[in-house]
Amino acid sequence: MSTEINNPESTNPSALLEFRNVNTHYGAVHILKDVDLAIYPGELVCLLGGNASGKTTTLKTLLGMVTPTSGDVVLDGEVVNSQPTSYRVANGVTMVPENRRLFKRLTVKENLMLGAYLRNDRDGINEDLEGVYDRFPRVKERLSQKAGTLSGGEQQMVAIGRALMSRPKVLLMDEPSMGLAPALVQQNFELIEQINNEGMSIFMVEQNANMALSIADRGWVLLTGRVILDDTAEALRANEDLQKAYLGGGSGE
C-alpha cells in the first residue's frame, strides 16, 4: 500500500485554497491529522474516503465553520484561520451542501438571492442571475415557486445556482451525488465537469469514487483523518489497493 505522501506542490504560492499541516479536534477527539491539501485555479479535485474519515470536517474547516487546532488554512495566499465564514464566502469560497439543503419554504428566487447575500453590486448580481437562468432554463420557469416543492434534479440545479451566485473562485461540493436518482447522478457529474471546464475550480467530496475520479484531475484519499493517498485521478484509478477498498474491485467505469 502506497502510504508515502507525495505532495510536491503544497508549498506552491499560487494555490487557491490550501491546508498546511492542519489538525482539528472535536473536544478531545482528533479528527484531521496533519492534513495537507492544495487546490489550484481551474482544477477539479476530489476527496475520497469512507464514513467518519473526516471528509465533512475538511469542508467545514475550509469554510471556517470549524477552526483548526494547529496548522493553517490559506485562501489565495492569505492565512484565514481566524476569519469567519462570511469573510471566506466574500473572498471566493462557497459550498453546495450535502443533500442540497435548499431553504425549502423560500422561493427559488429568494434562494438564489441568498447565495448573493454578501454582495452589494446590483448589476453584477443581475448578471449572475441571468447566467444561472441561461445555464438552467428550468430554474427560471420556477422562480416564484417554493424550493421545497421542486423535484430532486431541479433542487440540485438551484443549489448549484445558489452557490454560483456568490461568484466563487472555488466551489466546494459535499457529496453531490447523495440522494439523487441514478439517472440524475450521471447528469450531475456532467454538469460539474462542464462548470469546471468553464474555468471554475471545484473541490468535491464524494463517496462515489469511481464516478468522481472519472471527471477529476486529482484526488486525495482520507482514512481516519489522515491523507493516505494523493495522486492524479488516473493514477488513483489504476491503484489496486484503492480499487479494492473503494471502487468495488471492478476495473472502473
Binding site: L63, M65, P84, T85, S86, R88, V89, A90, T94, M95, P97, R101, F103, K104, R105, L106, E110, M113, L114, G115, Y117, L118, R142, S144, Q145, K146, G148, T149, L150, S151, G153, E154, R162, S166
Partner: protein, 592 residues
C-alpha cells in the same frame, strides 16, 4: 346470497366510540363549570344561554362527525341516508346518557370535595331549573342534537352552509351585544338595539329567527361566492394582488380611524386592550414568525418599556423622578429596550430550539422577579410598583389614561409603525437572512450570513416593539406593578401569533381581535366576560385544535399553507391518478 339490507348495518364500534368520547367531553365541560359560569350570558332570551350552548354543541358536533363518511375520490359510496341519521341519534344519545348519569350521581353521592362543580347548582342547570326533571331527558336531548348533527351531513351542502351561517350569526350578534349596545349611541341606533335585544341581555326570539333565516338565505343565494372571491384574490398576479392589498389596507385603515369616533368608552377600551396585545403580537411575529426564534420570555421587554416610562414620567417614582413627558421618555424606552434585547439575546441566541425557548422563559421571569425583589425595591418600588404615571401630552392634545379613544388612536399609530416595519423587513436583506436562518441555520451560515448578529437584530426589533406597548400600557393604567408582567402574557401573545398564523400580519390582527377582543387577555376582560378563569382553558383547547387541524393559523401566510398541506395535495393528486414523480406540487395544482 341473502344479506341484511345495508340500511340496517350500522357501524356500532364507531357509534360507541364517538358516543363515549362525546359523553366524556360533556362531563368534562360540566364539571369544569362552563354551564354554570356561562349561564348568565343569554343568547336568545330567555330560551337559550351560552351555558347551554356549551353543552348542546357537543352532541351536535359528535353526531355530525360520527355520521360523516370518509369520501374517497373515485370510490363509490352509497348515498347518505337513514343509517347516517341513526348513527347520529345513537351517538348523541350515548353522549347525553353521560349527563344523565352525572345528574343521578350528583343526586346520590357527594364528591364535592375534589370536584367543586359537583354541586346542586350544576344539577339545577342540568335540570333546566325544574325541580324533579327525569335525568333520562338528556338521552333524548342528546339524541335529538345528534340527529340534527347527522342531518347536516345528509342535506345538500348549500342548505348546510345556510343553517350554520345563520346559527353562527345569531351567536355572534349575541356575543357582540355589549359592543353593539355601546356603539348604538354614536350611530343613533338605540331603537334598533331595543328592537332586537331584551333589556336584560340576549336576543329576542323573533328577531333571532328573522336574523338567522335572513343570513341563511343570503349565504345560500350567494353560493360560496365569498370563498371564491378570497381564492381569486389569493391567486392574483403579483402586481394586481398588490393593488388589491393596498385598497383593502386603505379601507381597513380608514375604518380604524373613523369608527372609534362613533364608539363609546366600552368598545374603545376593549379596542385599546386589543391594540396593546396586537402591538406585542406583531413584535413577537417578527421574532418567532420570521426569524424562527421561539422566545417565551417576550413579556420582559413589555415590562422594560412600562417600567422605563414609569420611572421617567412619574413624579413620585421612588429614587429618580425626572418627570419627563411621555414622548421624551419614549427615546429612553427605545434605547433601554434595545439594550435589554442585546443583553438577554447575547447569551441566549447561540442556543437552538427547545433550549432557547426554555432559557428565554427563564429570563422573562427573572426580569419580573427583579422588579419584585427587595433588592431593587428602593428603585422600582417592589410589589407596590410605581404609581402616578401621568397621561400623554402630545403638544396638540393631551391623552389621559382614561381617555380610551385617545389611547386607542395612539396604539393604532404604533401598530401601523409595527406593520410597516415588519412588512418592509420581510422584503429586505435582513428579513431574508432571518427566513434563511429559520429554514436552515447551518446553510445560512455557509451562505455567509452572520447568524448571531442577524438573530440578535430580530431580538432587538421585537424588544423595541414590545417596549412601545409597555410604554402605552403604563400611561393607560397610570401605574406599573411587577405582577402585571406574568409569564402568562408571553404565552397569550404566542397563542395570538400561532392562532392567527405564524409569519402572517393579517393573521396576527385576526388572532388579536378574536382572542383578546372576545375572550380577553390574561387580566383584561373581553367581550365574553363570563368566561373569567375559563378563558385559559379555552385558549388551551383552541391551541390544541389549531395545532391538529389548522397548523397554519386562521389567516395563514401563503408560504405556510403550501408547506403544511403538501402531503395532502400529493395524496389528492394520487387519488386523482395524476401522480408523476418528477411533477411538483404546484404543477399538479395547475393541471387540476
Amino acid at each position: 346470497m341473502t344479506a341484511l339490507p345495508s340500511s340496517l348495518l350500522l357501524d356500532w364500534k364507531r357509534i360507541v366510540r364517538w358516543g363515549s368520547i362525546c359523553a366524556v367531553a360533556l362531563l368534562f365541560v360540566s364539571l369544569v363549570g362552563m354551564p354554570i359560569k356561562l349561564d348568565p350570558k343569554s343568547i336568545i332570551s330567555p330560551l337559550l344561554s351560552l351555558g347551554y350552548v356549551s353543552l348542546f354543541w357537543l352532541p351536535l358536533i359528535f353526531g355530525y362527525v360520527a355520521s360523516s363518511r370518509v369520501v374517497l375520490e373515485g370510490v363509490e359510496t352509497s348515498k347518505p341516508g337513514l343509517p347516517d341519521l341513526l348513527t347520529g341519534v345513537l351517538t348523541g344519545a350515548i353522549g347525553g346518557a353521560g349527563l344523565t348519569l352525572l345528574m343521578l350521581g350528583i343526586e346520590n353521592f357527594d364528591i364535592r370535595d375534589p370536584l367543586i362543580n359537583w354541586s346542586p347548582q350544576l344539577l339545577e342547570v342540568l335540570a333546566f331549573g325544574a325541580r324533579d326533571l327525569n335525568p333520562a331527558v338528556w338521552i333524548g336531548i342528546g339524541g335529538a342534537l345528534g340527529l340534527f348533527g347527522a342531518a347536516l351531513n345528509v342535506i345538500p351542502e348549500s342548505l348546510r352552509r345556510g343553517i350554520s351561517y345563520g346559527f353562527f350569526t345569531v351567536l355572534a350578534v349575541a356575543i357582540f351585544e355589549p359592543a353593539l349596545d355601546d356603539m348604538s349611541e354614536g350611530f343613533r341606533l338605540e331603537w334598533l338595539i331595543e328592537l332586537i335585544f331584551q333589556k336584560r341581555g340576549g336576543l329576542k326570539l323573533w328577531p333571532a329567527i328573522i336574523l338567522a333565516s335572513l343570513i341563511g338565505m343570503i349565504s345560500i343565494i350567494s353560493k360560496g361566492k365569498v370563498k371564491k372571491a378570497v381564492a381569486q384574490y389569493r391567486e392574483q398576479e403579483a402586481p394586481k394582488k398588490k393593488q388589491t392589498s393596498y385598497v383593502l389596507f386603505g379601507v381597513i385603515a380608514a375604518l380604524g380611524i373613523v369608527l372609534p369616533i362613533f364608539m363609546g368608552t366600552y368598545v374603545n377600551s376593549l379596542l385599546a386592550n386589543v391594540g396593546i396585545f396586537l402591538l406585542l403580537a406583531l413584535g413577537l411575529n417578527i421574532v418567532v414568525g420570521l426569524a424562527g426564534i421561539l422566545d417565551l420570555g417576550y413579556v420582559a421587554f413589555f415590562a422594560v418599556g412600562a417600567y422605563t416610562t414609569a420611572v421617567l414620567t412619574s413624579e413620585i417614582s421612588p429614587f429618580f423622578a425626572p418627570g419627563m413627558t411621555w414622548v421624551l421618555s419614549l427615546v429612553f424606552v427605545v434605547i433601554l429596550a434595545a439594550l435589554t434585547g442585546l443583553i438577554i439575546g447575547a447569551p441566549v441566541i447561540r442556543m437552538r430550539g427547545d433550549y432557547l425557548a426554555i432559557v428565554t422563559l427563564g429570563f422573562g421571569e427573572i426580569i419580573r422577579l427583579l422588579f419584585l425583589s427587595d433588592f431593587l425595591k428602593p428603585y422600582f418600588g417592589g410589589a407596590q410598583g410605581i404609581l402616578g404615571i401621568p397621561g400623554i401630552d402630545l403638544g396638540v392634545v393631551y391623552i389621559s389614561g382614561t381617555d380610551t379613544r385617545g389611547i386607542f388612536y395612539l396604539v393604532l399609530f404604533f401598530c401601523a409603525i409595527a406593520v410597516y416595519v415588519s412588512w418592509r423587513l420581510q422584503a429586505s436583506r435582513l428579513g431574508r437572512s432571518w427566513m434563511a436562518i429559520r429554514e436552515d441555520e447551518q446553510v445560512a451560515e455557509a451562505m455567509g450570513i452572520n447568524t448571531v448578529n442577524s438573530k440578535l437584530m430580530a431580538f432587538v426589533v421585537g424588544a423595541v416593539l414590545a417596549s412601545f406597548a409597555g410604554a402605552i400600557m403604563a400611561a393607560r393604567v397610570g401605574s406599573v406593578f411587577p405582577n402585571s408582567f406574568m409569564i402568562l402574557i408571553s404565552i397569550v401573545i404566542l397563542v395570538v401569533v400561532i392562532v392567527g398564523g405564524m409569519g402572517s400580519i393579517p393573521g396576527v390582527f385576526v388572532g388579536a381581535f378574536v382572542l383578546i377582543g372576545i375572550l380577553g387577555g390574561p387580566k383584561q376582560p373581553g367581550l365574553l366576560q363570563e368566561f373569567g378563569s375559563l378563558k385559559l382553558l379555552v385558549y388551551g383547547m383552541l391551541l390544541v385544535y389549531m395545532m391538529l387541524q389548522r397548523p397554519e393559523g386562521l389567516v395563514p401566510s401563503a408560504r405556510r399553507t403550501q408547506e403544511l398541506h403538501q402531503e395532502e395535495f400529493l395524496q389528492d393528486s394520487w387519488l386523482k391518478g395524476t401522480d408523476d414523480e418528477e411533477q411538483s406540487v404546484e404543477g399538479e395544482e395547475a393541471q387540476v
